[in-house]
């Protein structure tokens, strides 16, 4: 009887196939690492003029003058960090609250329907989110800003003219953009908490809140941290929606009502018309800094997840 080729292969020495498989997957892994290295390398090479001209102070100087060819990245770094932090501070409590409701409180049917709607939110192109920002969020913020300035104006964060566009609007819009990621991943993770654990806690007389706080959250901590950092990565790199509402002004201000700028936005805005070599190199240098920040954020996330898993086990 003839054997099919696959059975023949199985009958042969096994190490050959294993070895090939190992090499193949290693090659795939190396391609990914190679891509990241190549990206960093290309940006380093193509930003060398900026580093040569301005040195490391490029990162913390605030002048951006294409005419005089003096460039500093700080307003953009500031804008990216502040708008992302603002987005997280709104989206994390809101997202976790929604996820707890959907996973623990809501009836299963409602929960499934709602999470479908939330995942749909994640699929909306950000340029559409930007348009909604312009037509809905900006007028709302412009309406609310005078009130904010009157009541909270004693803080340095709420001073300035009510433009409507600015850091506050960008942060809120980013919060809406990253919210679906937090909600949907957190809910999925909470649903993986073993039923026996919940039942044990309930059996000991715990309230729903105590179950969430003492059983579900510790169990899901690493996954939730991962969700938050995935969302943060998304916020740091978001370009189109931010460009449309942040005001595109390279100034550093403590006030959230003032217009600002972000790293991704300045690249989108100025790359096409950057005429001189130093100008282009300075823009690429901003790209490199953004790349660096993303790596640092991801490293911190890894570390936190690692710590959480170690503590949990």
């Amino acid at each position: 009887m003839r054997m099919s080729p696959s059975v023949l292969a199985l009958a042969g020495p096994r190490w050959g196939a294993d070895d090939a498989f190992r090499r193949m997957t290693l090659a795939f892994g190396l391609v990914i690492v190679g891509l990241a290295v190549a990206m960093g390398g290309t940006m380093a090479v193509n930003s060398r003029l900026a580093w040569r001209a301005f040195g490391l102070p490029f990162i913390w100087t605030s002048t951006w003058d294409p005419v005089a060819e003096v460039f500093g990245a700080w307003p953009f770094i500031w804008g990216t960090l502040v708008s992302s932090a603002l987005a997280l501070s709104v989206a994390v409590p809101l997202g976790l609250g929604t996820a707890v409701f959907l996973a623990e409180v809501a009836p299963r049917r409602l929960s499934d329907a709602a999470s479908f709607a939330i995942e749909l939110l994640a699929a909306i192109p950000t340029v559409i989110m930007g348009l909604m920002g312009i037509f809905i969020l900006v007028p709302l913020v412009r309406w609310a800003e005078p009130w904010l300035a009157r009541t909270l104006g004693f803080l340095p964060f709420f001073r300035g003219a009510p433009y409507g566009v600015g850091m506050l609007t960008a942060g809120l819009l980013l919060a809406f953009i990253i919210l679906p990621y937090i909600v949907s991943i957190t809910r999925e993770i909470m649903l993986t908490v073993p039923r026996s654990l919940r039942e044990a806690a309930l059996g000991l007389g715990a309230t729903k809140w105590e179950v969430v706080r003492l059983v579900v959250f510790p169990y899901a901590r690493s996954g939730v941290t991962g969700a938050v950092f995935l969302a943060l990565g998304r916020a740091l790199g978001e370009t189109m929606a931010v460009t449309m509402v942040i005001g595109n002004t390279p100034k550093v201000s403590l006030s959230l009502l003032e217009p600002g700028y972000s790293m991704a936005a300045v690249l989108a805005n100025e790359f096409a018309e950057a005429s001189s070599d130093l100008y282009v190199h300075s823009l690429v240098a901003i790209g490199l800094v953004l790349f660096g920040i993303t790596i640092v954020v991801n490293a911190i996330a890894r570390l936190m997840i690692h710590r959480a898993t170690v503590r949990a086990s």
Partner: protein
């Protein structure tokens, strides 16, 4: 299963595509160009219409911005470039070969404003510069009031809106401001992107128009056609002759005519703040950048298009908000076109 089906039908599809591609490749020559977005509407109309005249020529134009156009023509990755600002002498020096600047049409940059209850406004250069410098902060400033007797100007602060992306539109405005205001030249200067002392940035003409339209008491600048499309009021600007002129294609052509006698041989000229009673002062040429010497028959094909553009193409400009070249300039450009090889 699906994959296999697709694979089976693939050779037939590929064959069909190859036949289609071969059919056009035999007949058509393709010219590739990149550059300014300011003249994109009229260029795409021209390339479309020209294909009806010469079905064997295809022109593919990508509006990636003037800076990109200059970079790509310098690197010879395209057959022609396009720019709203002329190349600098340093840029031309870096080019291997001779690049011609050929003016195609003219455009105007208008100062749009959103003042509830006010729809006509007079401004002059120094006042405009001071507004964009942040020196004039309120609408009821004495300098603005002096230019607008009888207009009830509100006391609200001015919100300045400018372009956030590099742009030929910005270049035209700041080129004008640099001519009329020493303070502007000193602080911000001239370029496709500048370090704006005050204001919000909007992306593209549509971004600026949108912000001005939405924000009460805002002032900004866009190309003429965007002001019309968005129903934004725009200011009359005092020209060199002391007359307040509102932008329209006739006023732009008048500005070009006012400088035609002093047109340099290489056409690299700024026509902002032009002489003439009817001249609109914030006007500009837009240029095609072509090599004088081209490989193969590309030179002849370019020449054919440019001759058509100067004759039949000019008539299409007005409908899209651009001003046609004045006759005297048209003749000079036609002569330059004949030197292309």
């Amino acid at each position: 299963m699906t994959t296999r089906k697709t694979l089976r039908s693939f050779p037939a599809l590929a064959l069909a595509m190859a036949v289609a591609a071969g059919g056009t490749a035999m007949a058509a020559t393709t010219l590739v160009g990149t550059g300014a977005s300011f003249p994109y509407p009229i260029y795409s109309k021209w390339f479309d219409e020209y294909q009806k005249v010469r079905p064997d020529v295809r022109i593919n134009y990508q509006s990636i911005g003037s800076g990109g156009g200059i970079r790509q023509i310098t690197a010879r990755t395209v057959d022609f470039g396009a720019s709203d600002g002329p190349m600098t002498s340093a840029q031309l020096f870096a080019v291997d070969g001779k690049i011609l600047h050929l003016p195609t049409v003219l455009g105007a940059v208008v100062v749009v404003f959103n003042l509830p209850g006010v729809d006509t406004l007079n401004l002059d250069g120094p006042t405009l510069a001071d507004i964009f410098l942040g020196k004039i902060r309120g609408w009821n400033d004495a300098a603005i009031a002096a230019l607008n007797p009888g207009v009830a100007l509100p006391a609200n602060p001015i919100t300045v809106v400018h372009r956030s992306d590099g742009s030929g539109t910005t270049f035209c405005l700041v080129d004008y401001l640099s001519k009329v205001s020493p303070a502007w030249l000193r602080t911000a200067g001239k370029g496709t992107a500048v370090n704006w002392p005050v204001g919000l940035g909007g992306k593209g003409n549509e971004g600026v128009a949108g912000l001005v339209k939405q924000t009460p008491y805002a002032i900004g600048y866009v190309e003429l056609i965007y002001a019309d499309q968005n129903h934004l009021s725009y200011a009359a600007i005092r020209n060199l002759a002391g007359k307040f002129v509102k932008a329209n294609t006739a006023a732009v052509t008048a500005a070009a005519a006012g400088t035609a006698s002093s047109m340099p041989g290489d056409f690299r000229v700024s026509i902002t703040n032009a002489a003439g009673d009817d001249a609109y002062p914030i006007s500009t040429y837009t240029w095609l950048l072509v090599y004088q010497a081209n490989p193969g028959n590309k030179g002849e094909i370019l020449k054919g298009f440019l001759r058509w553009m100067l004759k039949d193409g000019q008539g299409m400009a007005g409908g899209l908000g651009y001003a046609p070249l004045p006759d005297s300039v048209n003749g000079m450009v036609a002569k330059a076109v004949e030197t292309i090889r």
